[in-house]
Symmetry: C2
Amino acid sequence: MATPTIRSVAELAGVSTATVSRALTHPEKLRPDTRRRVLEAVERLGFVPNRQAVDFRRQATKTVILLVRDITNPFYLDIYKGVEEFAFEAGYKVLMGDARYDDARIAHYVDMVRNKQADGLIVMTGWIPEALRQSLPPIVIALQMIADLDLPMVHIDNAAAARLAVEHLIGLGHTRIVNLTGPMHEMIDLERNRGYREALEAAGLPFDPALEIAGNFRLASGQAAMRDLLASGIPFSAIFSNSDEMAVGAITELHASGRRVPEDVSVVGFDDTVFASAVDPGLTTIRQPQHEIGRSAMRMLIGILEDRPAAPGRIELPVELMVRGTTAPAITAPARLRAQ
Amino acid sequence: MATPTIRSVAELAGVSTATVSRALTHPEKLRPDTRRRVLEAVERLGFVPNRQAVDFRRQATKTVILLVRDITNPFYLDIYKGVEEFAFEAGYKVLMGDARYDDARIAHYVDMVRNKQADGLIVMTGWIPEALRQSLPPIVIALQMIADLDLPMVHIDNAAAARLAVEHLIGLGHTRIVNLTGPMHEMIDLERNRGYREALEAAGLPFDPALEIAGNFRLASGQAAMRDLLASGIPFSAIFSNSDEMAVGAITELHASGRRVPEDVSVVGFDDTVFASAVDPGLTTIRQPQHEIGRSAMRMLIGILEDRPAAPGRIELPVELMVRGTTAPAITAPARLRAQ
DNA sequence: ATGAAAGCGCTAACAC
DNA sequence: GTGTTAGCGCTTTCAT
């Protein structure tokens, strides 16, 4: 038996298709008995409106693309959840988009809006190819600012977050604090480094370029950075890492060299991902509100799509310092000073 | 300027819309000069076919839903990647579906196929509500068998994988091996436990029910299980955990009690997720081919949707034992025997 | 309050 | 080889 259409319902109820449509979308416009008759027919046939036809007719897709830089990054997990959650509530669908640092893939997903496969995108790649920039579809940028592009955005204050982390270490008496950064190409990375320097300066601590080491946010790069630093013999008692993953890598390497965390070295991460709980003791880190970032980005995009008046241009969400087991007071005994 | 439609192209090229359609989908059916003329017009106007209209006309959506049990579980990360990757190659889109252990949400996503919002689903929930079972849309079950339901499926041999893990421990001389299980409701859990028992039996080792401890796959339950076991004083020298997360939780607790891994206790996990690399030393574990599971599930579903002849009913993918740092030979000295 | 009819943009018989 | 035409299933004017 073929799936019922609005026509079969109309015939069974003895009304026009227009009336069936009204019964379902503007029931108050119908006389109660007509409405009842139609709804009965709908029930009898098990009619469900064909969303594809509805959307086509309405020239909307009720679909948004969530475009991330690397779909396998655990950082996104709670963002996925927040995005899906708000979309679900609002009757929208979410398409998975994996950019893989590939301009062609980004272009592909952006084009899907032109093709009418989606109404807009949430972009978390930190990058939009030049070629696409002149005519962008409805878009919300999350997490990463994109230089020279003034688009709706949801983000955190990375510099302030970094200050929070470093002030925590300074408060524990640390004075030689490492900053494990990413490749320093991107805003988030640069901002975190700026916050690190500002905290140092505000505390009157000297800035030592030798304590800034670049990785690539991933675990192995944290290990490598630590290996180099340890080999160099440069003294330090704490690490502020621009990602949890590098922080975990650094801890692994510290352990391998016989050092203890936090007794010998304190470590603070960034993100509060699954890595933070996997490490023992729990990693002290900056918690980003991933779930809320996802929800806000989705809310914002839908606001733009549905042309709500108060759709704000920029949302800044608060971070939180999660003090766990990898930070402890610095050893101030002369023995340590001599070792330096 | 309005976006060009197939009609504007037809007018510019001086042909019918049918010819434009052919030029784009069956170019070999046109005379070269007509084709060239049309393609020129397409180029000039920057025409891109409206996929929504194409799909509507073709009565397909080129969309599949990836329905998982809990979208934030890091285990899915590489599955997401594999699914998105194959879909991308095949011209399909992937919708994110989060079941959250909620029948209503599962029903919602299954209904989206009836509504023509998607062509089919990949289901990784381990559960389909009774009410939906009589008329299921095109579907592929991944990872979890669903009892009483003979559906296309991609999975691993969980019992064999567990045997592999336990045989590794037995090979190292361990005789008192714990199995940290899930709630023992689900096939994957029961199968892994079966493999554990079979490996014991095959090696002529006694089976001790006190060594089977149920958690819920999450980290904290691994800690709790270990705390209880340690408190009970029951002797053991190795752990086979049905998930990486519980394995990591167990290790944390072992460390907290002053035990070393692998010197005092060997630990094997299951899944090879991000948790396995976060732990120090690296977790010995069973690697599931998540990426390939994702690709295969997608390939299989598309095969079904496009009615390919050779769409197989069931795919079993191989697992691999990743021997890393958390397993070592059992201490066989009399000292240890006495301690028991 | 309800119906008739147009049409969203495209494809695929079916003609010629 | 190309054009004509009839829809896909629905919503929404515009009449009545």
